[in-house]
């Protein structure tokens, strides 16, 4: 058993070094994206095209998921609240759950699965087919031309998608609570209006979605840019995008929530 110990320790050391190296390389990529900030916005057409690819094409999955999540919240919320005779508060429950937590978090998870994987696979394949090398040899920085526009597109798209998610989710909750269960529509909207605070709930939700947008897009871009130029390499990178983005979003959600409640 002891025979294999040095090998296991060496393997652990290698993985630790590789992990630290990847964090450093990701941070360097983030720095380069900021370095090429002005150059990126000189090509607004590229950013608009990427907003279409990452944001607009993610709309369907976001809107449909949000409606179902809202309906489930409506059902579960009513089931619990009616025991305490406060079923009119269902509007508040649905809205606060969506705006504070589910909107940013579920949107980020869906974004990582839909747009993040597409970004990683596209950039990984561009690398494997030497398109990024060709760009470098044409004295055009791939970070400025390929990476940065996608980053800013993700940064802009995510809060809008999260806001849409929350909005459609509330409509889903309304659909279950008011026409189906029979909760009073006036109570549903008025309690929601009275209880949802702009600074504490909506702004905090927007801050979360901005942070998740940065993290999910950066992970997707880095995994694609760093992928070994083979079919297996791109496949593994795509998987890592979903796994790392999901873990990062859920971990950061806890940290951000702790800060927001503490503040």
């Amino acid at each position: 058993m002891l025979k294999g110990l040095p090998k296991a320790l060496a393997g652990l050391g290698n993985r630790t070094i590789e992990g630290i190296w990847r964090i450093g390389a990701g941070a360097r990529l983030f720095f380069y994206i900021w370095f090429y900030l002005l150059e990126s916005f000189k090509r607004p057409r590229l950013i608009v095209r990427e907003i279409y690819a990452t944001g607009v094409l993610s709309l369907l999955i976001i809107v449909v998921s949000a409606f179902f999540v809202g309906m489930v919240l409506g059902l579960q919320g009513y089931n619990t609240l009616q025991k305490y005779g406060s079923s009119e508060a269902i509007g508040v429950l649905v809205a606060l759950s969506l705006v504070r937590e589910l909107g940013p978090v579920v949107t980020a998870l869906l974004f990582a699965g839909r747009a993040g994987t597409a970004i990683t696979a596209e950039i990984g394949l561009m690398k494997a087919t030497e398109q990024l090398s060709a760009m470098e040899m044409m004295a055009v920085s791939p970070v400025a031309r390929v990476i940065a526009p996608r980053f800013w597109a993700g940064f802009i798209s995510m809060p809008i998608l999260a806001a849409l998610f929350s909005m459609v989710g509330v409509l889903g909750g309304y659909f279950v609570a008011v026409p189906i269960i029979g909760v009073d529509a006036g109570a549903f909207w008025s309690q929601m209006q009275a209880s949802v605070d702009f600074r504490d709930d909506i702004v905090n939700g927007i801050i979360k979605s901005l942070v998740f947008g940065v993290v999910c897009t950066l992970i997707a871009l880095f995994e694609g840019y760093d992928a070994p130029p083979t079919a297996e390499g791109v496949s593994r990178a795509t998987t890592r995008t979903v796994v790392n983005s999901s873990l990062a979003v859920l971990g950061l959600d806890f940290i951000l929530t702790a800060f927001m409640i503490g503040a």
Partner: protein, 272 residues
């Protein structure tokens, strides 16, 4: 060649390069005179493509240096390197066309990135280049709609879009049918002469290459094993050159990758 040509646009001086403890190049010296078409030949895995990447500054040598137009490539800042690269055009082995752009947009890409020309002039330039490679009629096609030979020609039009001083070709004949091969040979020579450029061709296709190049370097085992004009090399009695030019299986280049004794290896499997 080192003595008779003094006006060299690319010079490789005592270059050694390797990674993971294995040296791929061990003290390589080469010169590429202005206006000439020079081939770098050698077997698969001999580091020919790596040499192009070292010239283009995508890799840094461990020892020695590459000079392009008098500038040491690996000592340049990013801006300096990009200035040097604007003097170069490179054709990648499989074209490396941008798959989300049409043929026209691919050729227009470097022009739009590096100039502020009005769209009408960009169009004129692109048409000139596409006409030169015979693909003006394919301007609206996407890269996925092109054959291998056509993709290579579009990539060639893109590589020469800004009239570079140095044009580098990485295996331009790989996977081409004889007609496309002849077309690409003629294009390489005629573009070099028309643009007054210097051409570096990395290949292992002997007969096509010898028909149009001015000078050839043979690389094997990390060193330049032979060099000369095609005529000199055809007559050479060096074992390596003879084996390579005549495509012989036996010679100084071994067929087998280094391995333990065959019989012992087979018997070991049975013992276990």
């Amino acid at each position: 060649m080192h003595n008779i040509m003094s006006d060299n646009i690319v010079e490789i001086d005592n270059l050694s390069f390797g990674f993971k403890g294995r040296l791929l190049h061990k003290g390589i010296n080469m010169v590429f005179p202005r206006g000439k078409v020079v081939a770098i030949m050698g077997g698969s895995g001999s580091g020919k493509t790596t040499l192009l990447r070292l010239i283009g500054g995508q890799l840094k040598p461990n020892i020695g240096e590459v000079r392009v137009d008098g500038e040491v490539v690996h000592k340049q800042s990013i801006d300096g390197l990009y200035q040097l690269r604007r003097k170069m055009g490179m054709l990648f082995q499989f074209g490396a066309l941008f798959t989300d752009l049409s043929v026209f947009e691919n050729v227009a890409f470097p022009i739009r990135e590096h100039t502020n020309l009005p769209e009408s002039m960009v169009r004129d330039f692109v048409m000139l280049k596409l006409n030169a490679v015979g693909l003006r009629g394919a301007q609206s096609l996407m890269p996925t709609e092109l054959s291998g030979g056509m993709a290579r020609r579009v990539a060639l039009a893109r590589a020469v879009a800004l009239d570079p001083q140095i044009i580098m070709y990485d295996e331009p004949f790989a996977g081409l049918d004889p007609i496309s091969m002849g077309v690409v040979c003629n294009l390489i020579r005629s573009l070099n002469d028309a643009l007054g450029a210097t051409t570096i061709v990395v290949t292992h296709d002997v007969h096509e290459t010898f028909s149009f190049v001015d000078y050839v370097y043979f690389v094997s085992g990390g060193v330049v094993v032979a060099e000369g004009t095609p005529d000199e090399l055809r007559k050479s009695d060096m074992p390596f050159v003879h084996q390579f030019v005549h495509g012989e299986a036996d010679g100084p280049v071994p067929f087998h990758y280094p391995a333990p004794d065959y019989k012992k290896e087979m018997l070991r499997g049975h013992d276990a």
